[in-house]
């Protein structure tokens, strides 16, 4: 079936773990936006949810760092972090090994991808799932892009990966929803945690909503680091969703910097028509 949903959201651990330290109105508005995203996804009646993440050394390390990886298991566990620290209890999320394998085989026709038959979800996937499938009753297919350990995945390859995922999702009979998660500008887990470059974020989101491929790829890592912090490297997940929705334009449903969450909290989606 054609892809049924393509969107993005934030995944910062503070969204759950430091919820009590945020401005209540800002937190409530974000949580309401995440609830709206869940409702929008549920309305598409998906059979599975692909989560494109930028995991943070939970499963993949510099001893063997994949440029792209896709999960291929019938279940996944999380969170890898201390549940009290993250504010999310231990869970088991369903996967679909058979569906994963069919998607991976198709993606591999154009993009080299690693597969993983085990995967411990960190906050990059656990935080979005805690809102989007809070009962863990929708099969999840985790996807990772190396946004953490340089040399990083080139942006144009992230876009091409999105196009490959789209082709794969369209080729299977299941109804596939797809969500990219990551930060825009942020300096997570550093002394500058809480700094957010709102102007940079708004400019990026404008490029994203227009799905302007040339503009989305017109960044280099050194400048991203200077303007948007190392967390800005996670724009790869957003750009992959743009590739999956090539030809569609999107809308930003929510954007608000919340310093204690260390990021401009965002939800957005493409109109797949």
């Amino acid at each position: 079936m054609p892809l049924v949903y393509a969107g993005v959201c934030s995944h910062a651990p503070g969204i759950r773990g430091r919820a009590d330290q945020a401005d209540p109105a800002a937190k409530d508005a974000l949580y309401a936006a995440m609830d709206d995203q869940r409702a929008a996804i549920e309305a598409t009646e998906p059979d599975a949810l692909i989560v494109i993440a930028a995991e943070h050394f939970a499963n993949f390390f510099m001893n063997n760092m994949p440029t792209f990886a896709i999960g291929m298991a019938d279940f996944y566990n999380g969170p890898i972090e201390d549940p009290a620290w993250l504010g999310i209890d231990k869970f088991e999320a369903p996967g679909d090994r058979n569906l994963s394998e069919r998607l991976i085989r198709e993606v591999m026709q154009t993009v080299d991808v690693a597969y993983a038959e085990e995967w411990l979800f960190d906050h990059g996937i656990a935080v979005p799932l805690s809102f989007l499938t809070p009962n863990f009753d929708l099969p999840v297919i985790p996807v990772n892009i190396n946004c953490q350990g340089p040399p990083l995945t080139p942006l144009h390859r992230a876009y091409a990966f999105g196009e490959a995922l789209r082709r794969a999702a369209d080729a299977v009979p299941e109804r596939i929803a797809l969500v990219g998660t990551g930060g825009i500008s942020h300096w997570p887990a550093t002394p500058d945690s809480g700094k957010i470059n709102e102007a940079w974020d708004q400019d990026f989101l404008d490029r994203w909503a227009r799905n302007d491929r040339d503009a989305l790829l017109d960044y280099d890592d050194a400048q991203v680091y200077a303007d948007a912090g190392q967390g800005g490297f996670e724009i790869r997940t957003f750009i992959t969703v743009s590739g999956a929705a090539a030809g569609s334009v999107g809308s930003v449903h929510h954007y608000e910097p919340i310093p204690i969450f260390a990021v401009g909290c965002t939800t957005a989606s493409y109109d797949l028509g």
Partner: protein, 122 residues
Amino acid sequence: MSLYYVQKFLYELNRSPAVQQAYTADRHASLDGFTLTDEEVEALTAPDIGKLFHLGVNGQILMHFAAFHQIEWADYLQRMRDGIDEHGPVREGVYAMTGYEGVDAHNARLRQQNDNDETNGA
């Protein structure tokens, strides 16, 4: 300098209850098999969060090590700032791309950039 192995140890500690138990039982012994300098061993066993940040450990790894030691979030951030003040800019790794000059200097540089952008009409 063996930042790779410092981070490899912390990566394994963060994801493995068995490594966490070994570290808790005997911090020095748990580092056997990792190629580390005396300075790195000292920072990992103390633990010295500020020193580890100065050495270049990625915050996405370091923050979980701090949480493992029951170090609260605000205290974790302050320890990194203190580490930069005491030891100087980050030596290696992702944050060494700009040396990580410290919060005040970083803020001042970003303000200067924004002012320049406005002056230039960007």
